[in-house]
């Protein structure tokens, strides 16, 4: 199961990288988010999986696809200056970063020890999350509400046509 969800997640992300059409790229992103929701279920965290599907696969994907269709920018325009050197440098850097990270994860003894001692935890429930959120992290919750309001006002002001 883990391998299937991991492949869906990474395959969706990789399809997003090579996809030329922006609308289809958005659908690849949605596939990747669904795979990640499956990974969250395997992590005994159904709350995060539900939030992932509602917020990412639902809200954010629809918002991005709406903007793609609004701006009619389905295709990437041909480049004025094809920057081959910069592209090659960034591709090499990214591959080195990926290989380095994988090697680091496998060679780390701390991670292996963490892996060894862990018991199987109970699944996270909404009740546990709510109790934690409204007791220890109440200030962060209120700040988040304020931030969402500020972002909404900022988006409206940025979109508004100059009078």
């Amino acid at each position: 199961m883990f391998l299937a969800f991991a492949l869906v997640t990474l395959g969706g992300a990789f399809a997003l990288l090579i996809q030329r059409n922006a609308v289809q790229a958005g659908l690849c992103m949605m596939l990747s988010f669904f795979g990640m929701a499956g990974l969250f279920l395997l992590l005994a965290n159904p709350v995060a999986a539900a939030l992932q599907i509602i917020v990412y696969s639902g809200a954010i994907t629809v918002l991005v696809l709406f903007v793609v269709m609004l701006l009619q920018s389905h295709r990437e325009e041909p480049a004025e200056h094809p920057r081959y050197i910069q592209k090659a440098i960034s591709a090499i850097l990214v591959i080195v970063l990926a290989l380095g990270a994988v090697k680091l994860v496998y060679s780390s003894e701390t991670l292996a020890n963490m892996q060894a001692v862990s018991p199987v935890p109970d699944p996270i429930t909404l009740q546990k999350l709510g109790e934690q959120l409204f007791s220890e992290h109440l200030v962060a919750l209120e700040a988040m509400g304020l931030l969402l309001l500020a972002a909404m006002v900022a988006a409206v002001i940025l979109i508004k046509k100059e009078a």
Binding site: A6, L10, A101, Y106, Q115, Q132, A154
Partner: protein
């Protein structure tokens, strides 16, 4: 060794999926020239961080704080989506294009 570890779910396997997802997101943000596709790459990078966070939370014995932080991160990501897309629309109004190569000046 690596194939054997990846066939079942271990902390290392989750972290590797997370790292690979981050690097794919980074390469999308670096290699593509469409603002909206780059934006999707940034969302993928945020998600990779979430995956690593929740994997560590599970191997700390099902820590609820991980899910709390995940909740806060997706709220910030939603704010970022709203403001980012508004900025992209604003830029499109000025330049008639969503190509990042053309957006090299803050003035008209």
């Amino acid at each position: 060794m690596s194939i054997g570890l990846l066939t079942y779910s271990s902390l290392q396997a989750y972290l590797i999926v997370s790292f690979l997802l981050f690097t794919v997101g980074l390469s999308i943000a670096l290699l593509r020239r469409n603002f909206l596709v780059q934006f999707m790459g940034i969302e993928l990078m945020l998600n990779a961080a979430n995956l690593a966070l929740l994997a560590f939370a599970k191997w700390r014995g099902g820590d609820v704080s991980g899910t709390v932080f995940y909740f806060l991160i997706i709220a910030v990501a939603a704010c970022e989506a709203a403001v980012g897309l508004a900025l992209i629309i604003g830029l499109f109004r000025h330049r008639r294009s969503t190509d990042t190569d053309g957006a090299n000046s803050l003035r008209q």
